[in-house]
Symmetry: C2
Subunit: 479 residues, 2 copies
């Protein structure tokens, strides 16, 4: 998960408004979308079967163990693509294929930081994705937040290391990541404008361990990139205490990393064919790539496993839903939604054949809220789905949420979406760190996720009527 | 903290028995030791003042921030000695000095481990203290515990890496560390006897983070040491899952570390002079050295800070206790109790001038139990001290506990001891890892520790009568 949920929510509030307002009356499909009692009954049984099933767990265990880290373009990424194809087939998907995704490749070779001088000691650090290589030994200037750094006059940090010690807040909906990820994105450029030789930030995270949080950054056009990295929480606190001693504190930051040409990976797709309208699809998915530090369990092995597990359970039903269930394991979400954008580019013309889409990319915590940006005429069916989800502890929250990151670009071009929002209270303890490993997933919570996705996908695929996907730019997703 | 509390308890049960049995009747000091109402009253006020005081916190903040890691013999260790001298003086100790401690020096330069082959991925690893350097790429053979490894026939692990995936239990008294540390000490030699080329173990810890736990190991005489290291908890679980796939799993372990001659550090000692019997001393302390991975906050900056803080508060009293308070910051506990043994060697002849001793080396959790190995004639005074400690949530637990590790050697030669046992439920989440940092200490819990040590030290120093320290070998501390 790269983007902040709150930003996505903002994007989608706009999408929702655009979809529900004038177009609604004009569309010929304005007949209310509904679900039959038979569909509801089948979905209820599916839900209970999913809760007792461990397919999701086995999938994420297999991915994180046998493949492990799989940063976009790496050898592990290539193994992950092969793994996903094989896993779809082993799970009995009717049709399995890949769609190539090409992107710039970034590599991390080594990274270190240390206080030098009278208080000499190592600091736990990781390069931000997109950072150039470089070794800088310079005095640290501390800022409390991004705004303070942005207010630094041009040239005022010449030859210095800008250090922003902003602490993001813990929140169930991950709201604190809004500012955390904004600092990671915009901080380096602000540091360059003030003349800094390097950029350091407290990790965008909520933990207290010496495992720094990586994540993509970018540099504004016309600026010369500088080495940019995140300190682990205890190390950021340590550096602030050292600076507070009142004497100049020098840090040596050494990063060997950078962009090294292009790489091609793939969106890996598996379908469980619908019984009567097989050309129409409900898309569920997660992203297959991970950062390199951990094994990508919560980000986003869980999402891939939830979608694969739900698809498998639907495929096993005696009577399949009317439409096809399409599970997408997206390529390279982390470094710029490359898989989602490639999917949009390839399938934009077929938006009308997309019933609706939902992506899981916020860990493996229990889903607590369900909503959809579908037009008003489909909200009755959304309510019916919500009723089947309710026993899972999931509330219907109309007007909230947004699509997952890889659905986002397509949602801006007419794809209808649903949101199954997860409890992310602990998500940013592990997100983008070495600690993103299998043991951080609760198998029962994962099964609840699989059950919810299975119910949603089955009912959306079996609905009488559509959820409003149609050609036309809605509102451009922004970051 | 190097040794297992349970082992120390066993040592001390023997010590207690030896001190309380026949010698009791024979000693001329068998008059019951007591505390005057005036002493009790002064200690009660001292306790309340200590609870509201932040000296302990400031001391551990200063040590962990300004010095940071301080592995025995390192540059950081030398800075720590200078820091301790300066801090004692700044806190107003009457007399401050150092006593040299010489020991073999072990250095860690780099360490890495990775699964190679079809499931290629890095593993979070740290060399055990005392491990030789070496690079081994070999198949892993997994054992569930030390006994299983010890049962492996000679030669059966030729050219293999022995991997013991034993999980130590969480316990308030740290009891699980008994087997955890035994595996770390005895595992490498057992692996060598079975022919192994390297030794890997699940860290002796209770956390779920990718911060492996180091700690000293040793090799039995006559064996050729092999590279020996600990995996972080998630990495040990990962390696076990990979082995369970049923195909040979190869790991490449590369350690650059080893013994590099001798080094000299120092026990740093500060005294607050007693008002009427200044030549008699109550010793309290902790150890100044730490492992190199963290900043040694809970192990054992806290212990140093608790003892310094208690000494400072007693020194500030309008009426000092009768005897002198001696605070000792011991050198190199981690690699073999070198500071404690040096203190014994230098002061053995003066055992009779030692009233009693207590060491804090189990983190910064609240003290919940108090006891002493003093002879029966002094147990009345121990009960009186316990009564003043009771409002701090501390129970009197006669017959339990033991001296801290650095007191241990001297306790075997007649030094009387008291135990102020801390809640170590979380201790092994951080112990010997990069995560042993200041933020893991609760300032209020630390103040409770300072208050308890202040009360104990003051009352022991002001007692009418002694606590049984006297020349004579009691029982040799074992490991």
């Amino acid at each position: 998960m790269r983007f902040a949920p709150t930003l996505l929510a903002a994007v989608l509030a706009a999408t929702l408004a655009a979809q529900t307002a004038p177009s609604q009356a004009a569309t010929p499909t304005a007949t209310p979308t509904t679900l039959s009692p038979k569909s509801i009954d089948a979905a209820t049984q599916l839900r209970e079967r999913a809760l007792a099933d461990d397919t999701g767990w086995k999938v994420v265990e297999s991915l994180t163990t046998e493949v492990g880290p799989r940063m976009a373009g790496s050898e592990g990424d290539a193994r992950a693509v092969a793994w996903a194809e094989a896993k779809f087939k082993a799970l009995g998907f009717d049709r399995v294929w890949t769609e190539p995704v090409t992107f710039p490749k970034w590599e991390r070779n080594s990274e270190s930081a240390a206080v030098v001088g009278a208080h000499s000691q190592r600091l736990a650090v990781t390069a931000l994705g997109g950072s150039p290589a470089g070794t800088v030994e310079a005095e640290v200037v501390r800022f409390a937040d991004l705004a303070a750094l942005q207010a630094a006059p041009a040239g005022s940090l010449a030859g210095k290391i800008a250090f922003v010690d902003y602490t993001m807040a813990r929140a169930k909906d991950g709201g604190g990541y809004g500012m955390g990820s904004r600092l990671r994105s915009a901080g380096p450029s602000a540091a360059i404008r003030a003349g800094a030789a390097a950029f350091l930030m407290r990790s965008a995270g909520t933990d207290s361990h010496r495992n720094p949080h990586t994540g993509i950054t970018r540099f504004d056009d016309g600026l010369t990139p500088i080495p940019s990295a995140a300190l682990a929480t205890p190390d950021a606190a340590q550096l602030s205490r050292l600076v507070a001693l009142g004497k100049p504190i020098k840090v040596r930051l050494a990063l060997d990393c950078g962009w090294t040409g292009t790489a091609t990976s793939a969106n890996v797709i598996g379908e469980m064919r619908g019984r009567s309208k097989p050309d129409e699809v409900v898309v569920i998915g997660g992203h297959l790539d991970s950062w390199d530090l951990g094994t990508g369990a919560i980000d986003d092995g869980a999402g891939v496993a939830i979608a694969m597990g739900a698809g498998k359970l639907i495929g096993d039903m005696k009577v399949r839903p009317a439409r096809t269930i399409r599970v997408v394991a997206f390529a390279n979400e982390e470094q710029g939604l490359h898989g989602g954008r490639a999917y949009l580019a390839k399938h934009e013309a077929d938006v009308g054949k997309h019933q609706i889409a939902a992506e899981s990319d916020f860990g493996a915590g229990r889903i607590y809220a369900f909503s959809s940006g579908a037009p008003e005429y489909a909200q009755g069916a959304i309510r019916q789905i919500a009723d089947v989800l309710a026993p899972l502890g999931i509330a219907h929250t109309p007007g909230e949420g947004g699509p997952g990151p890889d659905i986002g670009p397509f949602a801006g071009f007419g794809l209808s979406w649903a949101a199954l929002r997860q409890d992310g209270t602990d998500y940013f303890d592990y997100h983008h760190t070495p600690d993103d490993t299998l043991d951080k997933i609760d198998p029962k919570a994962l099964a609840q996720n699989v059950a919810a996705y299975a119910v949603f996908a089955y009912l959306a695929a079996d609905a009488q009527g559509d959820f409003g996907s149609k050609p036309g730019k809605v509102t451009p997703p922004h970051e």
